[in-house]
Symmetry: C2
DNA sequence: TGTACATCAGTGAACGCGCGTTCACTGATGTAC
DNA sequence: TGTACATCAGTGAACGCGCGTTCACTGATGTAC
């Protein structure tokens, strides 16, 4: 039963959206073709009408996840009033390094969800991810008012710490909540300190 | 053909050692029972003489990897002369946040290899990992001469940054070496700074 | 605008494959006498 | 110390299962006239 072009395009979008959600929850490799299509309300046979292979969907989902994360940062960068912008960025940081973000089943940040898996993925996925991370870090530097070289370096240092703290805190959250909280708290202390003393 | 008890124990050790190496390279889920036994010079059928299930070997391998990492830190903590100890720790940090460690196929540090995967593993594996990380961070705080509460917090902050920087640098190393180097360099600047200005 | 036909998104059975796990079997080791 | 037998680490065939991928088929949509 053929369907309209619009309907088909809509279906494709739904498949990518579901892939983005499932991948963030469980990583690339643990989500099968059949399960993904079922989640999108379709049957597995139609998968290859949309993607040349299983690998291709990873790249598509990766792009989608990044574009959402980057949009959030761009919105901050585009705030005209400097003080308001800085406040928006501080609040971004505080939300990032938070118990809510640690406890999310499907982390919104692609680096938290994927960074460890990416080196083991196909070149197609790795390329899509790398392009995403580059754009993300550019947007981060802009959003944090630190686009000059020294500032960019500082933004990278900050961000590495967020990712490390969140990754470590997530990894022991279930088995050792106290340790997880301690790691998170230590990182939050620095986030708050940075929020207080904004750079000249 | 029955073999000696010593030979059997040796075989078991070899299986765990191979698991530790393969897991660090490719993560827990990508290493099959048959492949692992082949790597240890055995056939797949004998696997269940050593482990009750596939899951059990993850925990055993996890413990082994941690015990090696922790031994390195303990050796530093046990250096008697304070200046020598600080120098040893600085050199540990510089080796950790290095291009060599980023480019290693099988990262020696369990957090670089596993932290992202752990939340998706069975409770048995998560518990083994959490116990390992707790012991590792304790050893890290001791090795860095920072066992008082404020110092421990500082050690956690430092370590989170190492892990984040290395994870991010690894994730784009193949597709975008320049970005990878930039992330690593930014982190190394802080590592060096800390090495120069040791705490009172 | 109406008709005839080609297109193609979606369906579900089928494929080959590798996985984790089980099991009957082997034969040297370990043990009881 | 020597002998007879039980033990059990290791072997490799076999299992059921779920995977990614293919394919003949369906039938409403899109298109050519």
């Amino acid at each position: 039963m053929r369907i309209t072009k619009d309907q088909a395009a809509e279906n494709r979008e739904r498949v990518i959206d579901e892939a983005a959600k499932l991948f963030r929850q469980r990583g690339f490799d643990a989500v099968g073709v059949a399960e993904l299509m079922r989640a999108a309300g379709l049957t597995h046979g139609g998968f290859y009408n949309h993607f040349p292979s299983k690998d291709a969907r990873e790249a598509a989902a990766c792009e989608r996840i990044f574009s959402r994360s980057i949009a959030n940062l761009e919105a901050i960068a585009e705030v005209a009033e400097p003080a308001t912008r800085r406040r928006a960025f501080s609040s971004y940081a505080e939300n990032y390094v938070s118990a809510e973000n640690r406890d999310a089943l499907a982390p919104r940040c692609p680096m938290i969800a994927f960074a460890g898996d990416v080196p083991r993925q196909s070149a197609e996925v790795r390329d899509a991810y790398a392009e995403g991370l580059r754009a993300y870090l550019d947007a981060l530097a802009r959003a944090s008012d630190q686009s000059d070289p020294a500032g960019r370096q500082h933004a990278l240092q900050q961000y590495a710490q967020w990712v490390g703290a969140l990754t470590l805190a997530r990894s022991v959250a279930a088995s050792d909540p106290e340790l997880s909280d301690e790691i998170l708290r230590a990182a939050r202390v620095q986030v708050s300190a940075i929020a207080d003393t904004s750079r000249p």
